[in-house]
Structure formats: structure tokens, C-alpha cells
């Protein structure tokens, strides 16, 4: 359920770059830059306020001025060192940001990897084999995620609660339980997306491998997966970011400070109505966005490489 919530993206490739004189290129492309700049303003406008709040001392969000009057790093210090109220008591016993961060990386990393794996396995079956119930299976995958999640959280809590009574290592307040729950969403829209891409990989490649004596498993691991790198990268990125930002389930499964993920931990800064600490919250969100941005930068090469085929055909 995590990845399907954020609708997947697919970029169209930049094929080969044709060399043109710079000036002429710009003359031709000025409208493209204009569109891009408008899009950037629209996209980054609210983010700018998050940035401003992170460096602002007055704990407000979307305050009156975008540029903070007193630029301060106090909010970042609060995350790692702690914060005191006027009577000198620490408002959070310890600053737990580092462990929230580590937990989030573990959970998001594991979920992204396993989601890609489970999704790809299913997509391969749907793409390459012809079997009874195939159409129905794919349709079901899509429809089942349409069931409103309003009460599912309660059910998930009860499942983890009961299982955890017997198997403590996947009970409440464990990262492993959280990952398992997230994997419930591994098969969904992802599978459709990957299947669409797998369909574009010529089946002659499989067949020639099969003629060489490879088993279906070997074809999957050795032929299809490497060729599907771009779609795997996209799914991994989406799953990683969606997991990183998931709040509702994590807040139900995790119970103590040193087990919290970033959204659950940071939420505490703003969960008391009227006494929100937007400053440290925004600072925490900013730092948390770094891994996702890095991951994107790292995967961009694969993502841009060539998803059109899979995407357009669907």
C-alpha cells in the first residue's frame, strides 16, 4: 500500500544529444526554459517555506516573511542535542533524531529492495507465462488496493499485536514488523508497471537462453532483470520515498523513541495543537529529504535511460 499511493513516474529519454551552437539552441528552446521555470516556481514555492522555517527561530510555518530575519541553526541543534523549556526541563528527554534517521534508512532500504524483488517476480510471471486466472489476477491486484484504508490500520495493528505475542521479533515496536507490513503493498501498481516494461523486452532473448538450457529462474535473474534496470530503479526510488514518508502505519506499529522512524519521531514536534515546534520539524524534514534526493541523483541515469517503451505501451 505504500508505493501505490504515490503514482509512479516515468520519464521520456534524452536520446543522443545533437550538438548545436549554444545561441541557436537557446533561441529555439526559450519556451522550454520558460515552462520549466514556471513549473519550478510552482513546485518549489511551498518547499521554500519549509526551508525558511528550518532556519527561522520563531517556530512558525508559512509565517509572514519568506526570508527569516534571524538565520539560526538552533532548530538543527535541537534535533541532535535536545531542547529545554523555560523552566529548564528538557522537552524531549533525549534528542533521538539520529536513531530515527537510522531506523528510517533501514526500513525504507529493506522495503524498497524487497518490494522490487517481489514485484519483479510477479511481473515476470504475468509477462512471460500464460496461465489460467492471469487476467483476473492482474485485475484483482489493481482493484484490491482500491479498498478504503480507513479501518485497515486497526486491522494491521491487531495482526501485528497478535503475531507479536508469539513471535516477538515481528511484534509491535519492531522494525521488521513494519517492513513486513509495507511488503503487503509490494504487489500492486508496481507489478503493472514492471510487467509493462518486461513485455517490451523481446521474448526472443528468453527463448534463446532457454534453448541454451537455462531454466525460467535463470532467465529471470540472468536476462530479464539486468535489462529491466531502469524500471527497477524507478520502483525502488518510489518505494523508498513513499516508505520514508509513511506515517500512519509506522505510528501504529512503533511505540518507543529509539524505534521511531523519521515521520513518527518528527511528528512529536507538532502533535500538540497550538504549541507546534515547526522549526525543528522543518529542519528534520530537510535533512530527511537528502537521502531521497541523493538516491534520485544516483538513479537518474537509469531512470532517464529508457522507460518510454514500457511506459507508453502499458
Amino acid at each position: 500500500m505504500s508505493t501505490s499511493e504515490r503514482v509512479a513516474e516515468v520519464t521520456v529519454p534524452a536520446v543522443a544529444e545533437r550538438r548545436q551552437p549554444k545561441r541557436r539552441r537557446f533561441a529555439q528552446n526559450w519556451w522550454r526554459h520558460a515552462v520549466a521555470l514556471i513549473a519550478l516556481v510552482f513546485a518549489l514555492f511551498p518547499v521554500a517555506y519549509v526551508l525558511s522555517a528550518a532556519f527561522n527561530g520563531d517556530n512558525s510555518l508559512s509565517g509572514s516573511s519568506l526570508i527569516p530575519r534571524h538565520v539560526t541553526f538552533d532548530n538543527f541543534r535541537t534535533l541532535f542535542v535536545g531542547q529545554k523549556n523555560t523552566t529548564g526541563h528538557a522537552t524531549f528527554q533525549n534528542a533521538h533524531y539520529a536513531s530515527w534517521f537510522a531506523n528510517s534508512m533501514i526500513v525504507a532500504g529493506a522495503t524498497a529492495l524487497l518490494t522490487v524483488l517481489l514485484g519483479a517476480l510477479a511481473a515476470y510471471a504475468f509477462s512471460r507465462f500464460r496461465f489460467r486466472g492471469r487476467r483476473l489476477g492482474m485485475l484483482t491486484l489493481l482493484l484490491i488496493h482500491m479498498f478504503p484504508q480507513l479501518l485497515a490500520v486497526l486491522a494491521i495493528y491487531l495482526i501485528v499485536l497478535n503475531v507479536g505475542d508469539i513471535f516477538h521479533f515481528i511484534g509491535l515496536n519492531t522494525l521488521s514488523a513494519l517492513v513486513l507490513v509495507y511488503l503487503g503493498g509490494a504487489m500492486g501498481v508496481n507489478t503493472w508497471l514492471m510487467k509493462g516494461f518486461f513485455d517490451t523486452i523481446p521474448s526472443e532473448l528468453d527463448e534463446s537462453a532457454r534453448v541454451d538450457g537455462a531454466t525460467p529462474a535463470q532467465v529471470f535473474w540472468g536476462v530479464v532483470l539486468p535489462l529491466a534496470a531502469p524500471v527497477l530503479a524507478v520502483i525502488a526510488l518510489i518505494s523508498f520515498v513513499a516508505t520514508l514518508n509513511e506515517f500512519v502505519i509506522a505510528s501504529v506499529v512503533l511505540e518507543t523513541q529509539h524505534k521511531f522512524t523519521l515521520p513518527v519521531g518528527l511528528w512529536q514536534y507538532i502533535d500538540q495543537k497550538y504549541s507546534e515546534h515547526w522549526g525543528p520539524f522543518a529542519a528534520g524534514v530537510l535533512i530527511a529529504a537528502v537521502p531521497a534526493a541523493l538516491l534520485f541523483a544516483f538513479l537518474q541515469r537509469y531512470i532517464v535511460q529508457g522507460l518510454t517503451q514500457g511506459a507508453v505501451k502499458g
Binding site: 503514482v7 513516474e9 510477479a122 507465462f129 479498498f147 479501518l151 491487531l158 503493498g185 534526493a293
Partner: protein, 473 residues
């Protein structure tokens, strides 16, 4: 491919199956320890099934690839759905979460009431020479007593030592003190000193006791409670409550199956029925427009940026992704501030005074605008039929966006609950969790099922209209 030669592949497969089986056997042993027999049976069947799938050669081939993800899908998606369906046929709601026996016990406790003009006592738990547990008591006038299971017996004041308002010693008895008290609870919390009639002295902690009497008595034969002062009978109404003839109801009630009552409530409640069509139409408009606009914008951006050799291309893409990395709920809260019509940045910037969140129609525009922002800009989209349908379904049930941005509002004059931007799911939330007597999970589940059928039907129909399924032939 050489990495997965026949032998390595086989070894990996055997290792994988071994781990699965070993875990299965281990889990079975743990479950047997806990006497969870049904779980053991399910586990054994599942493990055997897995072995069969991976050891049999041909016909299970697709299953070998489908099973891993399916297990998680079943456990964390299908089971919760089944749970919701089950809840839809119960009265699970505020006041109805206990079992019947717990509810009866709760009513008994709640019915204990301080007797009018009843005394309060300072007490000290003590033992007599035979080791029998009893209470040393002192009332406000200073009179002292020994309280046992048989009743209250006065003793001379001089027998009791009082210091600082607390009883510290009593002649002939050993007063229990300090850490002894910690292990005394089982004896003390059920200990009462009868005073005749229904009245009894009941300790409240270790220092004080009050005179309490029940106002209700449970009659197992009639399966109901009798109110002692007027003899009114509260009978099980088969919907999880003890109710008197005049409709008065005892709390707490209990959770029980109520058949299709939640569904018939939906059909008969004017709160739900009257605005349903209006909310439904808006839900459709909202979800379709968000999907359509965001895909159109995504496509436009993709085309714009895909010019080979466009300078700053990578920079643009990288920057456009940033909002995606910020949690959606934070973005929504920021937007809410930006759209405030007198003080928000948007109106100040453009020197407009558009009531973004206050006017029903503008609020609808705002909700669409912000949802488009959340969907499109994260990444550049290219239209894919299944994705569009999934995105439609997601926005159809996009509780978070509506709830955080407008809360469904602004209110429409003629409907008690539905606001201008309420979609079906946010409306369900309001009906089931912010109306009546608090949370009504039963009703919410019934509504969720109905919504599911609506969105699934729409999606299935649009599927048949697209080429998506043809590719599956």
C-alpha cells in the same frame, strides 16, 4: 547467466527451501508451546503448499514467481479487508468494544455509588494473631473499628495509635506497612466489610475506605440488570446493550454481530442519504480532474524537457523531484497557510483577494490545485492506463488531502455534515467518527464496503474501455 549455472541455482533453491521449512518447523514448535492449534494447522498447510509449489516441476511455474508477493498481499491487505468486512456486520463503536461478560462486570463496578451521608474511614490493613486479613478503621469522629468479612466491630480508641492522620498500630493486631502492602492487592481489592443491606465498606487504596452500595443487580435468569430503587429491568436488546422499556440504556455495552443493521442504517439515515449524490458527483469530478490535469501537465513537462541537448535539463529534473521528498502532510499544511485569503502569500503575491478556502467553489479549486501539485510535480508523468486508473482510485479515496487542507469545508448551508469539498471517504469519516456518540467502526466499515464497490465498478468499466486489458490477452 553463468552466475546461475544449474548447480548454483539448485543449491540456492535448496538453501531457500530449507530456510523456509526450518522456519516453518520452528514456528510450529513455538505455536504448539502456546497451544495455538489452528495457527499450527494453517502453518503446516502453508509450508506444505510452498514445498509442493517449488518442488513440483511444470504446472506450478507461474506460482513460483507469484507466491512470495502474494503471501504479503494476503497477510497485510486481504486480511485487513476481510476484517473490515467482518466489522461491518457488528456494532463495534464507542460503548460497544468489550465482550458481554466484561460489560456486565463493568456495569457492576460502575453501579457502586457512595451512600448518601455515608462515612469515610481512615484505614490500615492488618492481620490478627491467626493471620487473618482485616481492616482497622477510624471514622471522622475518631471512633475506631475492626472490619472483617463478617462486619464492623467497635474497639476502644485507646487500642489504636494514630500519628499524622494515619493508623500506625492497633493493640492485638499487626498493622501491615511499607513494602508488605505491595503484595497485598489481591486480598485487599476484593475485601469488603458488609454493613447490612447492600451497603459495604470498600477500601480505596491503603489509607481510606468509603461506604458503597450497588444501584443495579444482575439477574442471570432474566439476563438483565434490575435497578434497585425502582425495580426497572434493563434487558439485553440483542444489539449489545441492556435497555429499559423506556429506552434508557446502561453503559458500557458490548460488541456483537448485528446483521445488516449498519447497511439499513445507511439506507434510512437522512444524514447519509440526502447529500450522497452531491458528494458522490463531487468525488468523481475531483478524482477525474486531478488525474486528468496532472497527467496532462506531466505530459507537457515531459515533452518540454525532453528536447535533446536542452541545457539545465538534469538540473530541472532534479529540482522538480524535490517536493516528492517532503512528506505530503507537511506540504498540505504549508499550502493551507499559503492559501489563506487575507493573510496568505498567494493572494498577497498576486494582489488578489480570492477566498481560496472560504468559498465553496474556490475551495474546490484549491483542493484540486493542491492535489495536482502533489501528484504531478514529484516526477514527470507519462500516461499509462493502469496508472491512471490506480491514480483515479487513489484520489477517489484521498482522505488525507481533503482532511488536511479544508476538512471537507466550507460548510454547505443545507446539509448538516457534508461540506463543499467532502469526498465520499472524508464524508464517511465525519459520519462515523465525528457524529453521534463518537467512533462507529461498524458504520464506517459498511460505508467503506459501499465505496469500494463504487470505485471498483467505475475502474473496471474504464478498464474495459482502455487497451490495457487487450495487452493481457
Amino acid at each position: 547467466m553463468s552466475a546461475f549455472s544449474g548447480t548454483v541455482g539448485l543449491a540456492l533453491k535448496i538453501a531457500f527451501l530449507s530456510i523456509v521449512n526450518a522456519l516453518g518447523i520452528w514456528a510450529a514448535v513455538v505455536l504448539i508451546d502456546h497451544h495455538k492449534w489452528r495457527a499450527v494447522a494453517v502453518l503446516a498447510a502453508a509450508t506444505a503448499g510452498l514445498d509442493a509449489i517449488y518442488l513440483v516441476k511444470r504446472w506450478t511455474l507461474p506460482l513460483k514467481f507469484l507466491i512470495p508477493g502474494t503471501i504479503f498481499l494476503l497477510a497485510f491487505h486481504v486480511v485487513p479487508v476481510a476484517y473490515t468486512v467482518n466489522v461491518a456486520f457488528t456494532n463495534y463503536s464507542t460503548g460497544h468494544i468489550l465482550s458481554k461478560s466484561e460489560a456486565i462486570a463493568g456495569i457492576k463496578v460502575n453501579s457502586l455509588t457512595e451512600v448518601e451521608n455515608g462515612k469515610a474511614y481512615t484505614i490500615a490493613p492488618a492481620r490478627d494473631k491467626g493471620g487473618h486479613f482485616l481492616l482497622v478503621l477510624r471514622d471522622d469522629s475518631g471512633a475506631t473499628f475492626i472490619g472483617t468479612k463478617d462486619g464492623l466491630r467497635p474497639i476502644p480508641r485507646s487500642d489504636v495509635t494514630v500519628s499524622d492522620g494515619a493508623i500506625t498500630a492497633a493493640r492485638g493486631y499487626r498493622v501491615l506497612k511499607g513494602t508488605e502492602l505491595g503484595s497485598l492487592d489481591k486480598e485487599l481489592s476484593t475485601f469488603t466489610v458488609p454493613l447490612g443491606g447492600d451497603k459495604a465498606i470498600q477500601p480505596q487504596g491503603f489509607d481510606t475506605a468509603v461506604v458503597l452500595a450497588p444501584t443495579l443487580r444482575y439477574d442471570p435468569k432474566a439476563d438483565g440488570f434490575v435497578r434497585l430503587k425502582d425495580g426497572v429491568l434493563f434487558k439485553d436488546n440483542n444489539r449489545g446493550s441492556f435497555v429499559a422499556a423506556n429506552g434508557e440504556e446502561l453503559e458500557p455495552g458490548w460488541k456483537t454481530y448485528v446483521g445488516t443493521r449498519n447497511f439499513s442504517r445507511i439506507a434510512h439515515s437522512s444524514l447519509i442519504r440526502d447529500p450522497f449524490l452531491k458528494v458522490f458527483v463531487w468525488t468523481l469530478v475531483f478524482a477525474s480532474l486531478v488525474v486528468f490535469i496532472s497527467f496532462a501537465l506531466g505530459l507537457l513537462l515531459a515533452i518540454t524537457l525532453n528536447k535533446p541537448g536542452l541545457s539545465f535539463q538534469r538540473t530541472y529534473r532534479a529540482l522538480l523531484v524535490i517536493p516528492f521528498a517532503v512528506p505530503a502532510f507537511l506540504s498540505l499544511l504549508v499550502w493551507q497557510g499559503l492559501l489563506n485569503d487575507d493573510f496568505g502569500v498567494v493572494n498577497r503575491l498576486f494582489h488578489t483577494s480570492i477566498p481560496w478556502l472560504f468559498d465553496p467553489n474556490w475551495a474546490r479549486v484549491s483542493v484540486i490545485l493542491v492535489s495536482v501539485w502533489l501528484v504531478t510535480l514529484p516526477l514527470l508523468l507519462v500516461a499509462v492506463a493502469p496508472l491512471m486508473i490506480a491514480s483515479f482510485a487513489f484520489n477517489f479515496n484521498n482522505f488525507g488531502n481533503i482532511y488536511l487542507l479544508t476538512g471537507g469545508g466550507p460548510a454547505l448551508g443545507n446539509s448538516p455534515v457534508a461540506g463543499a469539498t467532502d469526498i465520499l471517504i472524508s464524508y464517511t469519516y465525519k459520519i462515523a467518527f465525528a457524529a453521534g456518540k463518537g467512533q462507529d467502526y461498524g458504520l464506517a466499515s459498511a460505508l467503506a464496503i459501499i465505496i469500494f464497490f463504487v470505485v471498483a465498478t467505475i475502474s473496471a468499466v474504464s478498464f474495459t474501455r482502455t487497451k490495457a486489458l487487450e495487452n493481457l490477452a
